[in-house]
């Protein structure tokens, strides 16, 4: 099938097998390897991308299902060579260790900010409850997102 979508702000048109997973479409067809595959069953959040304004596990969405939609991946956060506020805060708070979960956490946090620019601590924790990090213990990640939320006020 011919898939038409907007990925990171650019129109994409490609002949693909609609029944492949969205994560494979992003990584293999578009070369966007920033999105990571962890558990492959929607438990770990590493493959989180934003589809039509909502955080989704790209391992459980079929590429054909994004027809006409809009996708934002980790590659789309940086604008004109400048990192997104969330990315900067993750770095300055040391919220990254091995980095494998980081794109997923950032996309979950970004999706939250797109819906709710002034989230409470509780809302932040709920937004990232589907993301697993085995290095940091989460505290620094929550602090980084809280700091970003504060700076946006």
């Amino acid at each position: 099938m011919k898939i038409r979508a907007v990925v990171n702000g650019a129109a994409v048109e490609k002949e693909i097998d609609g029944s492949k997973r969205l994560i494979d479409f992003l990584r293999e067809d578009l070369g966007l390897t920033g999105t990571k595959e962890g558990c492959s069953e929607g438990e770990c959040g590493a493959c989180t991308v934003i589809l039509n304004g909502e955080a989704v596990p790209s391992c459980l969405v079929l590429a054909g299902q994004i027809q006409g939609g809009e996708i934002l991946t980790i590659e789309g956060l940086e604008k004109n060579g400048e990192l997104d506020l969330l990315q900067k805060k993750f770095i300055s708070h040391g919220a990254i260790q091995c980095g494998f979960c980081t794109p997923g956490f950032l996309m979950s946090a970004k999706a939250l900010f797109m819906k709710n620019p002034h989230p409470s601590s509780e809302e932040i924790r709920r937004a990232i409850e589907g993301n697993i990090c085995r290095c940091t213990g989460y505290i620094k990640i929550v602090e980084a997102i809280e700091d970003a939320a504060k700076e946006m006020e």
Partner: protein, 278 residues
């Protein structure tokens, strides 16, 4: 492999009429794609339901709240009607999976997959919901929830049929949902429970109570129902309720090894739920 995404019921009808044993209906995909992966099934076709417009949205009718099969957990949580009137369904949706899963998982998918620990199923059993099924012939039939789910991951859906809407009867009600899992968030219920009370002048006129994950499908808790009947919330004694809950679990799973855990867990679950009643 084939992928079709009908835009309306007419196109859905055409797609359904060509379905074979390797055709799967997909909505959120949060159960289906995991099942296919576990079974190492790769040679299959998909009918993507997510674009079918007649399967969307929540409608408020005089006697029913009519919920499209494609309504996601996130949409259920965002609906003031659901939050106000269908407290148990709201709570089940609110505590299901993670943000990412709630954004994809649909009510239709939750029941069509018929997981024995499904939070939505146990709530819809308690509400006495009707499931509307749409067929390749363009026909519609309505089946009560307890006939729709036939067993563990088994429903009455035939090939060429899809869940189109879920109808919940309206009444003067108070409803409640609770679950116990291995952790607080992103957890699959080890035991769950839904209560639906028809209220009249502050008294429980009729109680409908189901326990989930203590059998292949939700189990009606008749001892508990009888206890609640005719009482006001103030008259409910937690210890009595817990004792009956324990009996219900013993009755539902007399031989399963998990009974030792679940007959204790049910008491904590009931304490949470009774504590949260108005």
């Amino acid at each position: 492999m084939m992928f079709t995404a009908p835009a309306d019921e007419k196109e859905l009808q055409a797609a359904l009429s060509q379905a074979d044993e390797r055709t799967y209906l997909i909505a959120g995909g949060t159960d289906l794609l995991i099942h296919l992966q576990n079974r190492k099934e790769t040679d299959c076709s998909f009918i993507d339901l997510t674009k079918v417009k007649e399967l969307q949205g929540i409608r408020e009718e005089k006697d029913w709240i009519d919920i499209g099969a494609l309504v996601t957990m996130t949409e259920l949580c965002a609906s003031p009607l659901v939050k106000e009137e269908l407290r148990a369904l709201y709570l089940a949706a609110y505590h299901l999976g993670s943000e990412q899963i709630r954004n994809r998982a649909t009510l239709g998918g939750a029941i069509a997959n018929a997981s024995q620990s499904s939070d939505c199923s146990v709530v819809l059993f308690a509400y006495g919901a009707l499931v509307e099924i749409f067929s390749a012939q363009g026909e519609r039939r309505k089946v009560p929830m307890d006939q729709f789910i036939k067993g563990r991951e088994k429903t009455c859906l035939d090939r060429g049929e899809a869940v189109s809407r879920i109808l919940i009867p309206r009444q003067e009600r108070s409803s409640m949902f609770g679950k116990v899992g291995a952790r607080k968030a992103v957890t699959i219920a080890k035991i769950n429970c839904a209560m639906d009370f028809r209220m009249e002048e502050g008294l429980i006129q009729k109680a409908s109570i189901y326990l989930g994950a203590v059998g292949v499908k939700p189990v009606e808790a008749r001892l508990l129902e009888n206890y609640f009947q005719g009482k006001s919330f103030a008259e409910i004694a937690l210890q009595d309720v817990q004792e009956l809950g324990k009996e219900e679990v013993e009755k539902a799973i007399p031989t399963r090894p998990s009974r030792f855990y679940k007959r204790v867990a049910v008491q904590g679950l009931l304490e949470d739920m009774i504590g949260a009643l108005p």
